[in-house]
Structure formats: C-alpha cells, structure tokens
C-alpha cells in the first residue's frame, strides 16, 4: 500500500462518527466538552443532538469527573479537548474513570508536536505515557482519518475507558480501500524480511516512505501500523522480531516513555533483537509549521530510514 494524494486530519473523524453512531441506535451517547468542540469537531454532534451534548466550560477536571458520573448511569460518554488539556485532569481520569472502569472515551485532538505554530504548551508529547500508565485504559493512535473513524466506532462499542489521540495536520489517507482496524491488532502494511518498522499515527506514512527508500538500497522492510498501543499486539511484535531480526519503532511522542519503550519491554521477554527508536528526544517542542517541527525532532521518513540503516548495521555485526 502506498500513500495517495488525498489528505485529511484525523481529528475530523470525531464529530461525524459520533453522529453516525448515535443515529445507528447501537449506542446511547453523551458528549462532553470543555470549550474546544469546534477544534476537536465534537460540536458537529451538538448540531444534531444538542440535548446529548454538555459543555463544562474551560474546566477539564469537572468535565472528566462528570463524564464518569454520566457513564455510571450506563451512557457511553465521549470527552474531548486538546491532548494537553485532558492531561490537566490526570487524577480525575484516574479516580473518576480508570479505577471504577467506567465507559468513557477520551478523544483528544492536537496530539504531538504536529500541533505546530502554537508551540510547546499546546504540543502534547507525553499523553501516550500518561494514559498508558492507567490500568483499565485502552490507548490508540490512528494513522489516518479512515482509521480514526474505525477506532472511534470500535471504542464506542467496546466497554471501558479509552484514550484516542487525533491530530491537527492534514495527513495522507492510507486506507483508501476502507479501514482494517481491529482492537489490539497490528496491521501489516508492507511485508519485508530484513527488519520491521513499527509505527503509529502520522509516522506510519513516513515509515512507508522510508521503506520505499530502503527498498531502493536492497533492504526489505516490514511495516507494522501499531494503532492500538494498549493492549499491545505482542504476538505480532514477537513474530516480527523472529522473522526479521531487527526492529525500528517510530512515533510522535517522547522517545523514552512511548510506544518504543513498551515495544522494547515486550520484546525483552519474548525475543530480544537489535532495536532503534525514532521519537521526540528528551525536550519540549517549539513553534513552526507542523512539518517543520517534525523535522526539528527528526520525525521524518529520512529519520526513520536512518534508524533502519543503523539497526541493520547492528544486526549484521
């Protein structure tokens, strides 16, 4: 599968998907918001179901605990804001949702440094670590808008807490033939025998381009889209390690606490192989266009390809 011209932001999936789900009658939705419904697109749900949409103002702690209250009555609750602002309510996520295992889906937009111009304060680079640290939460990062829609639907129909990170930039649509998303299953986008690139979010498309570059050098890279971070598809990772003997993990998140760290922990007990990591180094972001900031952080197809060359050199030693 290769990237095509169409682009869209993963955040655009939220509002329309919620409307469709409520219309389907499959779920009994409540949507809560903290004054960013236009940006997260959840306000599109309000346009159709105003009585099921509740705004809490700029008060994320109250919104998250109230979401737990709604869910305790049996509603499926979607809470959204920017990723950095739901982080503001971490203890509420822990006490009002995670511990009682309530049916709240946090869909946060503007994840990662690709939020761009707003700078470090608006760029969530620690959200995957925070949500992955909460037992009972499932965590997902869709690779394109098609997968985002499928993931939101899967989360709505699954019981228990979820965190889904969506993004602001318009990125290439990968799943032009429709979604293949399954909870907790890696999707093999490209077969390969020399190494495996494990990626999530907008790094998936960059990993595919890196695999193209590597192919020109005679290196065959498998590409796994690890859209579900928790639960992690450890079986797919073990198979990749056994069959290709080297792993690169690429993500738009702090490199020491994200998908890469979790993949490394899983493989350390299953089948350790040489690994390299592409992620945000131990620093905060800055202003710039979204692709400029990604470049500053080394989150490019070139960066992924370089990591692949490095891991191949270690594998050959």
């Amino acid at each position: 599968m290769t990237a095509v011209q169409t682009t869209a932001a993963t955040r655009d999936a939220l509002g329309p998907t919620l409307v469709r789900l409520q219309q389907s009658g499959a779920v009994d939705l409540v949507v809560v918001d903290a004054d960013l419904g236009k940006s997260t697109t959840s306000r599109k749900f309000k346009d159709v179901y105003p009585e099921r949409f509740f705004t809490f103002g700029v008060a994320e702690q109250n919104m998250i605990s109230a979401a737990g209250g709604f869910a305790s009555l049996g509603y499926t609750v979607f809470a959204s804001s920017f990723a950095v602002f739901v982080e503001h309510a971490f203890d509420q996520l822990r006490m009002s949702i995670a511990q009682p295992r309530l049916n709240v889906k946090v869909v946060a937009s503007h994840g990662g440094v690709s939020t761009g111009e707003d700078g470090a304060s608006a760029q969530s680079i620690e959200d995957i670590a925070l949500f992955s640290s909460l037992p009972t939460f499932k965590v997902g990062v869709p690779a394109d808008v098609v997968e985002a829609e499928a993931m939101i639907e899967a989360a709505a129909k699954d019981s228990g807490p979820w965190y889904i990170r969506t993004g602001r930039p318009k990125i290439p649509v990968l799943y032009t033939d429709g979604p293949r998303y399954q909870i907790g299953k890696a999707d093999t986008l490209r077969e390969g025998g020399d190494l495996t690139i494990v990626a999530c979010g907008l790094l998936v498309e960059r990993a595919l381009r890196a695999a193209d570059a590597l192919a020109a050098e005679g290196v065959s890279a498998r590409v796994l889209n690890m859209a579900t971070i928790r639960p992690l598809d450890v079986d797919a990772l073990e198979a990749a390690a056994r069959e290709t003997g080297a792993i690169v993990v690429a993500e738009e998140h702090l490199v020491h606490t994200g998908l890469g760290a979790m993949v490394a922990q899983a493989l350390a007990t299953r089948h350790p192989v040489p690994m390299e990591f592409v992620g945000i180094p131990d620093r905060y972001g800055e202003s710039g266009t979204w692709d400029q900031v990604l470049e500053i952080m080394g989150l490019t197809s070139q960066g992924v390809a370089d990591a692949a060359r490095k891991v191949m050199a270690r594998k050959r030693r």
Binding site: F56, G57, A59, A66, G69, S72, L73, M95, S96, P100
Partner: protein, 274 residues
C-alpha cells in the same frame, strides 16, 4: 420534644458510632473523626430522605448518595450495614486483605457505593454528571453529595458549583460537613473557606447554613428543604464536631486519620453505650 421515631434514629446513630470505632480500631487505621461528624447527616439521609432499596441496590430509579469525602468509609460501611446492604459481621473485614470494604470508597464495593473517592474534590462533579444524565432520561431522582469543609479548598468543587448552576440543575444537593478540622490542623489555620454560604450563593445555589449537624430534627428539616428545592442546586452547610460522641476525640485534630490506642478504644466504647 423527642418523638419515638427520633429515639429510633438515636439508637441507630449510637450503633453506627460503635461500628466506626470498632472498624478503625480493628484495622489499626482509618478515619474516625470525619466519620463521627457526619453520622447524623447520613443516618437521617438514609432513614428519611433517600429513595433507595437495599434489597435492590441497582434499582434504576434510586436516588444516589455520593461520598466525596472518600476517607469516611467507616461511616459509609456502617450505614450500609445498618440499612441492610451488607451483614454487620462484614464490618470487621474493613481494610483487610481480600475485603470488599476498602480503605477509601470504591464504586460497587459493595453494591450501594456509587463512586470511587479518596482524592478530594471530585464527588460534586461526578454527582453533577449523574444528575444531568438522569435529567436526560426524564428521571426526577435526586443526587446527594457529602463533602468536607477542608475539601472546599479543592478548585474542582467550584468548577462543579459553577457548572451546576449554569445548567440549571436541581435535585442535586451538596451536603457540607463543616467540622472545622482537616488533616494537619484546624481548617481556619490551613486555608479558611469562610464565608462558605456566601460563596455558594454567589455561584447560584440555594443555601441553608448553620444547621446543627448532630440535631436529628434539624438535620431532617434541612434535608427535606434541600430535597424540595426546584430550579437550582441546593447546599446545606452543617456545623458539626469532628470526633462527635467520644469526648477526647471531639474537636481534636489528632483523630482525623489515626486509630485509637488500646486504652483509648476502651474509653471510647464506654462513652458509646449500645
């Protein structure tokens, strides 16, 4: 005039206080002071006000009681035992390995516990979500949230207070146990929340204040008033005594979260006749 019904309630509060002291003494940990200060409030609530069915704790139309001061589980479990949700014998398992009776409130452990708590300041928000969800379904059931006065220092309480008035929520009742003491010291020395009643009024709530939280008739009158407020959320501020019922625990900051010694236990039980 003390009615027969009140005599009955008084014997309930005495049993509940003995349970509280027994549980904390047995567990060698737990929070006596704030449990004793809220004893009359919860006893009257469960006996006279709350629409509930211990035989069917999942009854969809029930009122919800939300324990926001989640450290006061000795009182919460004693109430659940007194009103038939759990056997009295189970109280001795409080804070023990394998027990349902966890140190702080955990939703569903046992049935009748409607929220998880322990971090302060979240119960009013959780209760607000429940009440808004009830309203969406056309249910007129009530939500009662018990908070401490130290808890009013949490900013989230005021986020919830603002949102409840904004959404014109009624059938939502905040019960504040103003015992004047928090973990380290007296509340007025730590972070004075006074004037509390004016703050809630300014946030758009109907408020009844300075209710004697240990006078059964006064508690019942205030809870009845709060239940019947329409168009706005209601708040009752009870003046209480931390550690009420045991002389040397009363108004003593040392009995917020510490268990009694062997000697203190004996003296406490002497002061709490069955």
């Amino acid at each position: 005039m003390v009615t027969v019904a009140q005599t009955d309630l008084q014997s309930r509060t005495r049993r509940i206080r003995r349970h509280i002291v027994n549980m904390v003494y047995g567990a060698k940990s737990g929070h006596i002071g704030g449990s004793m200060s809220s004893t009359e409030i919860l006893t009257v609530l469960y006996d006279r006000i709350l629409k509930h069915d211990p035989a069917n704790p999942a009854w969809a139309e029930r009122d919800r009681f939300i324990m926001s001061k989640g450290h006061c589980t000795p009182l919460q479990y004693a109430i659940l035992a007194e009103f038939g949700y759990i056997p009295v014998e189970e109280l001795s398992t409080f804070r023990q390995k394998g027990s349902r009776l966890q140190g702080h409130s955990v939703l569903g452990k046992p049935a009748g516990v409607e929220n998880s708590a322990g971090s302060l300041g979240m119960g009013l928000s959780f209760g607000l979500g429940i009440r808004l969800g009830m309203r969406l379904r056309g249910q007129d059931s009530h939500v009662y949230v018990l908070m401490g006065d130290g808890e009013q220092q949490e900013g989230q309480v005021w986020e919830a207070a603002m949102a409840a008035a904004h959404h014109h929520v009624d059938h939502l009742v905040a019960l504040i146990d103003r015992n004047g003491i928090q973990n380290d010291d007296f509340t007025k020395n730590t972070m004075d929340s006074a004037p509390l009643e004016e703050k809630y009024r300014a946030f758009g709530w109907e408020v009844r204040t300075d209710v004697d939280g240990h006078d059964l008739a006064a508690v019942e009158a205030a809870l009845t008033w709060a239940r019947d407020v329409r168009g706005k959320p209601a708040c009752v501020i009870f003046n209480t005594t931390k550690g009420k019922g045991v002389s040397f625990m009363e108004n003593n900051p040392n009995f917020h979260g510490a268990p009694p010694t062997d000697e203190e236990y004996v003296r406490a039980m002497e002061e709490l006749p069955a």
